[in-house]
């Protein structure tokens, strides 16, 4: 990405300064991070960085703010009530178009984890087969990939399908009210597999379902990314903090890659209400979205970015509108900070590509316990 030159210079200057030893930390810089949702393994990297002292090592004192139904992280950030925020790219770009000066400084999730899950007997194996079906989604801006898939398949979301907003559970799918339900690989899909099949008395298995993956359909959009306040990026001190923050966060993610169950425990101890096996599954699935990261974790891949932004401009929603009306400007993301952060991590000997990453196999228990 080509952010404007001055900012780049500042960033570099700042980065050089921060390579000074972090040991002599007297007053740690306070940092507030706004999450998208409640505490769960989706955010394990940040909790791990906090728990393992990676933030402290960078002389940061990080407060993690949980999300909620009506908390829009990027707006909280733009509003000055957080220093960084985790948000999906398309949603954040919509806010940016609405005047929120926010910049993507690290693309943590390299892939989309959104699925459309349906029972086998519905025969829905691709988005083209959504036609005439009741299609579940969560709303709140988490449904853009569905619109993208529909648009790609030449379907009109207002006429060719019945869109149904799902609740926070998967009951709608299991009871047959919804033909195909939106599910994240790391969360709702697991909920389905944790539920008992009343016909057999045993848990459902993956064989009972068809799964449409938007990433595979070619309409995957970039998801969890770290966003910074664009107006403050001219301040070298903020850039310095951002770099350290990204570095420590990626260090946290790397830790979780290598210590899956330890991270599960960290998340549970931070007050996640979801059960342990569920959380472990989630940790494992989230790792799959991050690792391996060819260009280094957090690097924003221009191709994926362009795909996200063009889908955001073309995918028609229920009202016939699109997420974005015009292409995001060049300042919407920068790789400068993550590059500097990765350099710091490389110097520390942290593996930031995870080229040898192998996912684990997690067994789900009833109710996620």
């Amino acid at each position: 990405g080509g952010s404007d030159d001055e900012a780049t210079e500042d960033t570099e200057a700042a980065t050089e300064e921060t390579t000074a030893p972090a040991a002599e930390c007297t007053t740690p810089t306070p940092v507030k991070l706004q999450l998208q949702w409640f505490t769960q393994a989706q955010f394990a990297g940040y909790y791990a960085a906090q728990d393992q002292g990676f933030y402290a090592d960078q002389c940061l004192e990080v407060t993690i703010l949980e999300g909620a139904v009506d908390i829009t992280p990027q707006n909280v950030l733009a509003d000055g009530q957080a220093d960084f925020a985790i948000s999906w790219v398309s949603k954040a770009l919509a806010s940016r178009e609405g005047g929120a000066n926010i910049v993507n400084i690290a693309q943590v999730f390299q892939r989309s984890g959104t699925l459309q899950v349906s029972f086998k007997d519905k025969n829905i194996t691709s988005s083209a087969e959504f036609k005439g079906k009741k299609i579940g989604n969560w709303g709140y801006g988490n449904e853009f990939e569905i619109f993208a898939a529909l648009t790609k398949a030449g379907l009109d979301p207002a006429k060719d399908v019945t869109l149904v907003q799902q609740q926070f559970d998967m009951a709608g799918l299991l009871s047959g009210d919804i033909d195909a339900a939106e599910a994240m690989t790391y969360n709702e899909y697991a909920q389905v597999l944790e539920a008992k099949n009343p016909a057999t008395g045993a848990l459902y298995t993956a064989d009972d379902f068809n799964v449409v993956s938007y990433e595979a359909e070619g309409v995957g959009m970039l998801q969890d990314a770290i966003w910074a306040d664009g107006s403050r990026l001219e301040d070298p001190a903020y850039v310095d903090t951002a770099t350290k923050f990204v570095a420590a966060s990626i260090q946290g993610w790397a830790f979780c890659r290598d210590n899956v169950s330890a991270c599960r425990d960290i998340v549970v101890s931070k007050g996640s209400k979801l059960g342990a096996s569920h959380q472990l599954w989630q940790m494992n699935e989230v790792n799959k979205l991050i690792w391996p990261a060819a260009g280094g974790a957090g690097m924003i891949d221009a191709a994926a970015w362009d795909r996200t932004s063009s889908l955001s401009q073309t995918a028609k929603n229920l009202e016939g509108g699109t997420v974005l009306t015009k292409a995001p400007d060049a300042g919407a993301y920068t790789n400068d900070i993550v590059t500097a952060a990765l350099a710091m991590l490389d110097a520390m000997g942290v593996d930031t590509t995870g080229s040898g990453y192998m996912p684990e196999t997690v067994e789900l228990l009833e109710g996620g316990n």
Partner: protein, 289 residues
């Protein structure tokens, strides 16, 4: 005292009947709901939609998440108490504002005509559109050493739902003073304020009591919804949404929190009912049948 004992026993009877009905329906009701003329009228009786009562009750005594040693009942209890505090704050602010507005509107007809339609409209603004604004403005507010606590935003939303019924009920009540009594006060050249406190408010009591009841439950709903929507930790609303996420696998869990919210509502309206008894104790009793 006897009255209170009687009321409580009635309440127990009521609960028992509901439990009986619930379980009865689970036996006779259709597992997948019943349809009449293509409209589903009968709810589903299966264990996901309607868990057994004992499943829900026993859930209270099991750990919140596996491995933890906090039982659900303690979590729900502390959540309920937390939300109760916020609701009380919301209710008192709502009462102040509601009564204040009603007084203003009854004093100046112009204000009434100018304001009332907008008060009505304000009630149709969804909390989802307001919650982020309140949180954000609150977060920016700092007056001297006063820093806006996050929970205050939830109370404010409780206030938002509480004030309206109170304002409307009080307004009606203030207008209900008998004409002859108003004339009497006029003949004393009682000031507007004196007439208000010595005549209009006492005369308004029968209208204000139901208004307070609605206000109290409005405050609860506002606070709980605000907890859900702003993610405020510690309250029953937050618990509800967290447990709701697990409804697929653990349907009884969300009910434990729902009952907590219900208990919260009952407590609030119990407080109002108490004020009713106090305020009406010297009024002529309607001759009983």
């Amino acid at each position: 005292m006897r009255r209170i004992a009687y009321r409580s026993s009635m309440f127990v009877v009521a609960i028992v009947s509901v439990v009986a009905l619930w379980e009865f329906y689970k036996i006779v009701g259709p597992q997948d709901g019943g349809k009449f003329f293509g409209v589903s009228i009968l709810p589903r009786a299966n264990d996901t939609a309607m868990p057994h009562v004992w499943t829900m009750l026993s859930r209270y005594n099991r750990p919140e998440v596996r491995g933890s040693d906090t039982k659900i009942w303690s979590v729900v209890l502390s959540g309920t108490l937390f939300s109760l505090r916020l609701s009380l704050v919301g209710f008192f602010m709502g009462t102040t504002i509601g009564v204040g507005l009603a007084v203003l509107m009854s004093r100046f007809k112009v204000v009434q005509r100018g304001l009332l339609p907008y008060l009505v409209m304000s009630q149709t603004v969804p909390l989802i559109a307001l919650a982020p604004l309140v949180v954000s403005w609150g977060g920016k507010l700092e007056i001297g050493s006063f820093v806006w606590p996050r929970w205050l935003s939830a109370s404010i939303l409780g206030t938002f739902l509480a004030f309206f019924p109170i304002a409307v009920g009080t307004l009606r009540g203030l207008a209900s003073a008998p004409a002859a009594a108003v004339e009497l006060m006029d003949s004393y050249a009682a000031s507007w304020k004196q007439t208000l406190f010595k005549l209009r408010f006492p005369a308004a009591v029968p209208f204000m009591v139901p208004a307070f009841k609605l206000g109290a439950s409005g405050a609860v709903v506002g606070v709980v919804v605000a907890e859900i929507s702003t993610g405020l930790k510690g309250g029953i609303g937050r618990l509800i949404i967290e447990y709701a996420r697990e409804a697929t696998g653990d349907p009884a869990k969300v009910f434990t929190a729902v009952f907590g919210a219900a208990a919260l509502g009952i407590t609030m309206s119990g407080l109002v009912a108490l004020s009713d008894v106090l305020l009406m104790r010297n009024r002529p009793k309607e001759t009983s049948a």
